[in-house]
Amino acid sequence: MFNKILIANRGEIAVRIIRACNELGIISAAVYSEADKYALHARLADESHYIGASLPSESYLNQTKIIELAKEINADAIHPGYGFLSENASFIKRVEESGIVFIGPSSQSVEMMGSKTSARELMKRNGVPIVPGTTEKIVSIEEAKKNANKIGYPILLKASAGGGGKGMKRVFAEEELETAFASAQREALKAFGDDSVYIEKLIEHPKHIEVQIIADKFGNYCHLFERECSVQRRHQKVIEEAPSSFIDEETRKRLTAAALNAAKACNYYNAGTIEFLADRNKNFFFLEMNTRLQVEHPVTEFISGIDLVKEQIRIAAGERLSFTQNDLRILGHAIECRVYAEDPENNFLPITGIVRYHRLPSGPNIRIDRGIETSSEVSRFYDPLLSKISVMEKRREDAIRRMDIALSDYLIAGLKTNITFLKRVLQNKKFLSGEYSINLIEEELTPQNFAELAYVCPEDFENVAAIVSAYLKLQPQNHTPLQSSRSSNKWTELQYE
């Protein structure tokens, strides 16, 4: 087993990996940028190393610095988390060549899945269904027009190197194509340094279903069931659940088999996720493979009872999978909500600021993954994800109820979050019925809907808000702390000023 792991990431995922290291008795080495000097991950790790200025390109994306540091501090392995360098095949190759173990798949597997167009080609050859569209990149608007007409509108423009909705545009008619094509190319170039774009048929009202797989270096492959991540804003997931209430046992068999085929097609080892779009008739199409740990891995850990991060580390260290497919059962229904510093009333624009107060929910089967606490700064340099709340219950409706209560218990001051928005999603009829698609938010949860929803908010709460704000207005200097009772015990002599 490894002696020391360098964690090339920040925020909640770095904290998550530090915990796994602690539990396995491995020394955790964190890296931090200027802005993250006293960030939670930098405080919790056994060692913390400064790697550069706040801009990601100067620090968390600086391949040379990270590899040099790993050698210098004698780290046996690097865990990349998600985002940043996690799916960068050339970085992984450099790590491999430096004699350090990369906790994840081989650079070849990542390379094969890295370009969306070549991954589509590979899947097609291996009998994994793909969305109809081009398998080569499109460079000119003429070519785009020709292909779009062949495929038939509506279509979707996507960045070959893409992810996270960057460089992705929906086009419903030819006259919209030119603007959308240029915008997609611009976004793709800025986000990935590559303006290759391809065209897919737009599947209307699809669900986003993905399968977690894991494999060791001995060719043992397992799936850990599916997750449904159809609640998305700006093509980024906000609420995820496992299992999907839409998938029946027969579909699950076909889906997980396709996922395992996809993983085998690129000789995959370690944890990975195969994303699919499912149409109303339970046909599913390969979307992409995420060759890393996912943000939403806690829901799978809940329903499978498997610690994915520890398993990742063991696999990288050359151990066999600690379980077989037959050991796995779906243990319940889990939901995760991503709490973001953002403004749902204003196109979900990210919000920056300092967390002035932070109280987390707690209770049976409520799990929090976080990278922040009181006094943490949410800066413009990084993703505005504050924390993830995950819950599990036996039945989906009870899990939703548990989540709703957990969100109500969450207190955070200093910046606005999407907490109310998340609660609104949980109360939405389509969400509750399970019959929702990836268009749920733009169809049912727009600011216009919020205005209507505001009127059904219990009057009690409005009165509460009115009283407290009136009170704060009249007594702006009123910060007198709570009187603590002065009972006599041995601590009373200690007075904290």
Partner: protein, 166 residues
């Protein structure tokens, strides 16, 4: 003297503290008690129920409250402020004139409208690039686009004036 007007969810409420333990909201009396753990965390006991409240942000007359997972943007005015405003509103024709500022640091990528163009609420005025994503900045009011303060391909800070709607 202790009467305050609070607009919450588009409804105006009159809040009057009469004693240390009594508050009247729109003519209805409640027993209350408020304590604060710190500047940002308060407890309000209203009749028998206790609410945990966070003061998310405060700006002169605007206070943002989070309680039980609900955000409330409260506009708060004392009686005096309200009276002054009423007088002012009569002296000049009250119209929506407002500068719209950038909600985020970013880069103005494209300006979609021209000055003096008529704008409907929710219509995109410009595209702001932030977090590597293109974001449409829409008009919060209907009216005329009186002035555009920025030009394309210029970086803006959070709070930089972008345009004016009248």
């Amino acid at each position: 003297m202790n009467e305050v007007f609070v607009t919450v969810n588009g409804k105006e409420k009159s809040v009057e503290f009469v004693n240390n333990d009594k508050v009247i909201i729109d003519g209805k009396a409640y027993t209350y008690d408020i304590s604060c753990e710190n500047e940002f965390h308060h407890f309000l006991r209203l009749n028998k129920k206790t609410f945990d409240i966070t003061k998310v942000a405060k700006d002169k007359n605007k206070i943002v409250i989070l309680t039980e997972g609900n955000y409330f943007e409260c506009n708060v005015q004392t009686k005096l402020e309200k009276n002054t405003e009423t007088i002012l509103a009569h002296s000049e024709k009250s119209q929506h004139k407002e500068d719209v500022s950038s909600p985020m640091p970013g880069m103005v990528l494209k300006i979609l409208k021209k000055e003096n163009e008529e704008i409907v609420i929710g219509e995109p005025v410009l595209i702001l690039e932030a977090m590597k994503m293109e974001n449409e900045v829409t008009s919060p009011y209907s009216g005329f686009l009186k002035k555009i303060y920025v030009s394309e391909n210029t970086p803006v800070e959070k709070g930089t004036k972008l345009f004016r709607i009248e």
